[in-house]
């Protein structure tokens, strides 16, 4: 286990190094000049060059990347070009909101996805099954900004059940979580359904049925725990999808997380923030996958870590 973790840790570091190099290179190659963004319209060429020099952006790529890397190792993500604040401070101040949204979204997708999948599997081949599967398909394919605006319109504007965007109470959390959760719920419903159908076909389930066990007992006590395993293992991988989703959902709902920070930074070519958020997201994805791998043997003894 320890050698396994050690190896994974080295892998993680290498991945982060790779991500930082690729992102840094892409941002460097971008035709947009961050200095023009900082300097604005009225700056004289001299002002522009001064700023370029102050930020070290007149240095060759290798030197710039080396400086970034050496600072990164000491935990310094630099200062935002536009906001002039420490990137670490900006990300840390927004991370709790994003984590909260992630928890809300995971709850939503598990609750909705698993129950839809379960019902569809049990009612396989019926109209209920088909309706649920069509619904899950819509959930998977609907763009998040459309879902978000639709939910906002119905539940916040028309029905006034929830506030129209913002942050602060549990009521603010519901609609953005649901928007994020609906996408995942679709996937979980489809996975849960096929996994459950597989299990229901197994011999031990037939045996249980032959013994005359109640239908509910078979489904919930015998089939569900086995069917749910592969689905649970997905949550770690889900984090990657979340990291993409929060950029859109946080912007629609005015949710003050790192997705919104990233979106605003991208528009202004604020490279230190883009780098910082990318690295934090990459770290979260790697960590999610690692957790999924570590948990897997505990829920399925057939899996061994090597």
């Amino acid at each position: 286990m320890i050698t396994y973790l050690g190896r994974r840790l080295i892998q993680t570091l290498l991945i982060l190094l790779g991500v930082s190099l690729i992102t840094f290179a892409l941002l460097y190659l971008l035709p947009a000049d961050p200095v023009r963004q900082i300097a604005g319209r009225s700056a004289t060429p001299q002002t522009v060059e001064n700023i370029r020099q102050q930020l070290g952006l007149d240095q060759p790529f290798v030197v710039q990347y080396w400086h970034y890397l050496t600072r990164l190792i000491s935990g310094d993500l630099g200062r935002s070009y536009i906001q002039r604040s420490e990137v670490t401070e900006l990300i840390v101040s927004r991370l709790p909101a994003s984590l909260l949204l992630m928890v809300g979204a995971i709850l939503c997708e598990l609750l909705i996805g698993l129950s839809m999948g379960l019902i569809a599997a049990v009612k396989r081949g019926t109209a209920t099954d088909q309706t649920l599967m069509v619904a899950s398909f819509v959930g998977v394919s609907a763009p998040q900004f459309v879902v978000g605006l639709l939910l906002l319109y119905v539940f916040a504007v028309r029905l006034s059940w929830f506030p129209i965007g913002g942050y602060g109470t549990w009521r603010h959390l519901v609609l953005p979580s649901l928007t994020m959760g609906i996408l995942g719920a679709g996937w979980y419903a489809r996975m849960m359904r096929s996994s459950m159908i597989d299990v229901l076909r197994q011999d031990y389930v037939r045996t249980a049925r032959a013994k005359g066990l109640a239908r509910g007992a078979i489904i919930f006590r015998h089939a569900l725990p086995n069917a749910i395993l592969p689905v649970i293992a997905m949550i770690g991988i889900d984090i990657g999808i979340f990291m993409g989703g929060i950029v859109v959902v946080e912007s629609v709902f005015g949710w003050p997380g790192i997705g919104q920070l990233a979106w605003q930074a991208i528009q202004r070519v604020d490279i230190p923030i883009i780098m910082g958020v990318t690295l934090v997201s990459a770290f979260a994805i790697v960590l999610g996958n690692l957790l999924a791998d570590i948990i897997a043997p505990f829920i399925d003894p057939r899996i061994k870590l090597r």
């Binding site: 000049d33 023009r36 300097a39 060429p45 002002t47 604040s85 129209i164 942050y167 005015g254 528009q267």
Partner: protein, 547 residues
């Protein structure tokens, strides 16, 4: 030329220069205004910084004006200059020395009195390359600027503290725009001790002399301004508190306004909802429309064939159906025929511009040797409505045989292409169009039509450089005497007429601004579309429902 005293005399002279009637700064408090109350305003993007030397955004421009003051300002809701932290000023006969007398008893939010040393410190700071101020170049006419900008000196030789309440500026050339420069945010006065205390984070901990002070800043969520009870301008501000909620999409902000949750959605009415709002009398009554110092234009790269031929550029000017383009944006603009917007001094009302005339345009194109047109590229920003406007331009060009392929890119990439001499044959400026930094005709020339801007990374995307006009512009800006302002404006009108004859741009429209407010907001309409305190003048608005 006689030496003249400022204050009322010069203020009225300047007022005449700007074509407005005169009034004293102290008289501008609205007698009907009610004192007290709180409002909520929203913005989509987070506020980046509140440091006056750095902030240069839609969101923070007017916020900074409410936290800080400069030597000069404008009458609320107008483009009329007035002394602000200065009580009066004097301009030497040669137009190269400006002496400002400061108000006594003006206090920073930390309680210390503001003096001439602070004025000098603030200007030394903004021009110091280490500050990385985007506005440093505005101070280029002050003696010693070049040494400071080059890092050879820490202090501007041309700024002298005569006594605690007098500061003298010596310029290296007469500069008719200098009083405007003393009103721009970048020249606002900051206290040295607070700047040194917070260092690079001063923008998050702003301390000024302004009408409001910062009470709270929760990153990514809200900024709260509180009334400054010691504000030197008695009777201002009217509001006790302004809460700025950020991260609110314009559509969400509009819905919240309709539900009465907020007072000012400051990113404006989203285009998709514009018709709906304007066709509802109750909502329309709460919309204020105003001009702004903006022009939207098509640039043609005058160094690139076939746009190096003036006839081709004139043909493009005649091919554009401006009325139809304005329809695309729901009529939120007026057609433009010259670079200056109508609310700018020196705008030529008599000038007719190029007519929309497809036959003539075709004829010009044939004369230029392109009877069958040619292929080219039109760059535009990729956010709505710009791609749709670019398509309309594409169709107009197709009608005279020019086949333009559209390159819809992110803003930063369009700017990069424009600043590259071989980058973009044509650019539709929408979303990046010029909005004046201060209401003076010279501000529409240098960076976007003069030789200084026709450099790599510059904003003169036509790469138009006419040395004769550069000389004329310098000549016009050396006329500092307000009594001769009409002569100066006439010179500027002529410069722009000559530019239009060369046709490096096809001016398309001047955007109008539409601010929506809640029913409880009070104050003159022009405060909500203030041409300088953009988007609105926070110091002078009030709420009607306080006791």
């Amino acid at each position: 030329m006689k030496k003249f005293l400022a204050s009322t005399v010069a203020a009225s002279a300047l007022a005449l220069m700007l074509g407005m009637t005169s009034a004293r700064a102290e008289d501008t408090v609205d007698p009907n205004a009610k004192q007290g109350g709180e409002i909520i305003a929203t913005y989509k993007d987070d506020v980046t910084t509140l440091d006056p030397a750095i902030g240069y955004d839609w969101q923070n421009w007017s916020m900074i004006k409410s936290l800080f003051d400069g030597l000069m300002d404008y009458e609320p809701g107008t483009t009329k200059l007035k002394p602000d932290l200065a009580e009066s000023y004097e301009i030497s006969p040669d137009g190269k020395t400006f002496t400002f007398r400061l108000r006594h008893g003006v206090k920073f939010h930390n309680g210390r009195e503001m003096t001439a040393d602070d004025v000098k410190y603030s200007l030394d700071r903004v021009t110091n390359p280490k500050t990385q101020s985007p506005g440093a170049g505005f101070f280029g006419s002050i003696k010693g600027y070049d040494d400071v900008a080059a890092g050879k000196a820490d202090s501007l030789a041309g700024v002298t503290v005569v006594d605690p309440y007098t500061v003298k500026f010596e310029l290296s050339r007469p500069d008719a725009t200098f009083l405007h420069v003393m009103a721009i945010n970048f020249s606002h006065v900051v206290p040295k001790e607070e700047v040194e205390k917070y260092g690079a984070d001063f923008g998050k901990h702003p301390v000024g002399t302004g009408a409001f002070k910062l009470a709270e800043w929760t990153l990514g969520q809200r900024i709260v301004f509180e009334r400054n009870p010691d504000y030197w301008h008695k009777g201002l501000p009217h509001l006790d508190k302004i809460t700025f909620e950020v991260g609110q999409e314009p559509i969400v902000a509009l819905l919240r306004l309709q539900k009465g949750e907020i007072d000012l959605p400051l990113d404006g009415i989203p285009p998709a909802k514009f018709q709906e709002v304007m066709s509802d009398p109750e909502q329309k009554a709460r919309v204020v429309e105003g001009g702004q110092l903006h022009t939207g234009y098509i640039t043609m790269n005058t160094t690139m064939a076939p746009f190096d031929n003036v006839k081709v550029r004139q043909a493009v000017n005649m091919a554009i159906n401006k009325a139809r383009i304005i329809q695309i944006i729901n009529g939120r603009a007026v057609p433009a025929n010259q670079p200056l917007p109508p609310s700018m001094p020196a705008y030529d009302k008599q000038y007719k511009g190029y007519p929309y005339d497809v036959a003539k345009a075709k004829a010009l194109l044939a004369e230029a040797g392109h009877p069958d047109g040619f292929d080219t590229q039109l760059f535009a920003m990729n956010t709505d409505p710009n791609p749709r406007i670019a398509q309309a331009i594409q169709q107009d060009l197709a009608a005279i045989g020019i086949k333009a392929s559209i390159q819809a890119l992110a803003q930063a990439n369009v700017i990069a292409a424009g600043g590259d001499k071989a980058g973009a044959p044509m650019i539709w400026s929408g979303g990046m169009g010029w909005i004046a930094d201060f209401p003076d005709p010279s501000n529409f020339y240098g960076p976007i039509l003069g030789c200084a801007g026709a450099v790599p990374g510059g904003w003169n995307w036509s790469w138009y450089c006419n040395k004769d006009l550069d000389a004329k512009a310098a000549e016009a800006d050396s006329i500092v005497d307000p009594a001769k302002s009409d002569e100066r404006y006439k010179m500027w009108s002529d410069i722009y007429a000559k530019i239009m004859a060369d046709a490096p741009w096809a001016p398309v429209f001047n955007e109008q601004r539409f601010t929506m407010k809640s029913a409880r907001m009070g104050g003159a309409d022009n405060l909500y579309v203030d041409p300088v305190h953009v988007p609105i003048n926070y110091d002078n608005v009030y709420v009607k429902d306080v006791q």
